[in-house]
């Protein structure tokens, strides 16, 4: 079973806290779909906040548990998959290809043509601060550029778990107008959002070999998320730890 949780857009710190709570506690494979309100910038786990001192004043910033470059989360379909590692290929690149293949199929089902980027090996030390600035091998792109930002966190204790983040751009965010967006292909209306979300759920569940079932956070997960939000993600000391 793949528990599917759909949340309305939430503040950045709450989103990241819920995802860590799912990584830490969820016994059931879980896929959460959500958005961001207000729009916010998330930093990759290892990024330096000082490199983003030029953001417009008041821009909410959060640090992700997952790696990679920063993302300006505007109008997008974000998903977090929290799952035991045994459900995914051990090889990280292979796990990306599996999940990205499902997202490409979901996009195709609603009429958006996209593809896996080939041939460009990831740079050994990315200089670009924005996730979407430089598509690398196995990213999802359209002719207009990179369409999906992805990152993972892998833990081994108390058991092997993976948190996989995906940010599918619906409309170009203000701070990163160089990204591709679903809106390049078609108007993004409520019906499309719903259908694209449904397709992402169905296709990811299919490649994982799991049956999607609508669910909600447990009381323990809500409690853990509230604790993580207060003492980690909303804490400036964590946001600016590097």
């Amino acid at each position: 079973m793949l528990r599917v949780i759909r949340h309305e857009p939430l503040p950045a710190a709450r989103n990241m806290a819920i995802d860590e709570a799912l990584l830490a506690s969820a016994a059931t494979p879980t896929l959460r779909l959500y958005g961001w309100s207000p729009h916010a910038v998330s930093l990759g786990y290892f990024q330096r906040s000082a490199d983003f001192a030029d953001l417009p004043p008041g821009t909410p910033i959060v640090r992700r548990l997952t790696g990679g470059g920063a993302i300006h989360h505007g109008d997008e379909l974000t998903f977090a998959l929290a799952i035991d590692a045994r459900w995914l290929p051990r090889d990280i690149a292979a796990s990306y290809r599996l999940l990205h293949g499902a997202v490409i199929d979901a996009l195709a089902a609603v009429g958006v043509a996209s593809h896996l980027v080939e041939g460009q090996p990831p740079s050994a030390r990315p200089e670009q601060r924005w996730c979407f600035a430089g598509p690398t091998r196995d990213d999802i792109a359209t002719s207009g550029g990179k369409l999906l930002g992805s990152a993972q966190r892998r833990v081994h204790a108390p058991r092997e778990r993976v948190l996989h983040h995906g940010s599918l751009v619906l409309q170009r965010p203000a701070l990163t107008p160089f990204v591709a967006a679903v809106a390049d292909s078609m108007p993004v209306a409520a019906a499309l959002r719903q259908r694209l979300g449904d397709e992402v759920v169905d296709r990811l569940a299919a490649v994982l070999g799991l049956q999607p079932v609508a669910g909600a956070l447990t009381a323990d997960e809500r409690s853990l998320a509230a604790d993580l939000e207060a003492r980690r993600y909303a804490d400036p000391a964590f946001v600016h730890r590097r």
């Binding site: 990759g44 786990y45 290892f46 548990l65 997952t66 790696g67 990679g68 051990r90 090889d91 990280i92 690149a93 990306y96 090996p121 990831p122 740079s123 050994a124 030390r125 990315p126 690398t136 196995d138 992805s150 990152a151 993972q152 966190r153 892998r154 833990v155 081994h156 204790a157 092997e160």
Partner: protein, 125 residues
Amino acid sequence: MRPTDRQYLKSHEWCKIENGIATIGISDFAVSHLSDLVFLDLPAKGSSVTVGESFGEIESVKAVSSLYSPVSGEVIDANKDLPDNLEWLSQEPFGKAWMIKVKVTTKSPDLMAAAAYDTHCQAEG
């Protein structure tokens, strides 16, 4: 066969204990599955590590992974040159790519000899 003068965790850290001091790193198997390493965070000298808990984090281009301590004790040294020379992890994971040295108070009961670890890696593929 990997070096037999040390022990290994299923999560792919190695630990070589001499005179009560553990030298800790990660195996070639871990490095090959991470690939394209970009960042490494290690604990500061003087900090404490605990058996089974994270002592550091490593990022490849596509994933951040936690590193788990095979021992408890005080960190008496960290390989401060390693974060700027991550290629050492591919070149000499059991040598100059050591990560931390710890004054051991407790050792994990889950540490395996090289032969058992080799079998574990073969099973993981």
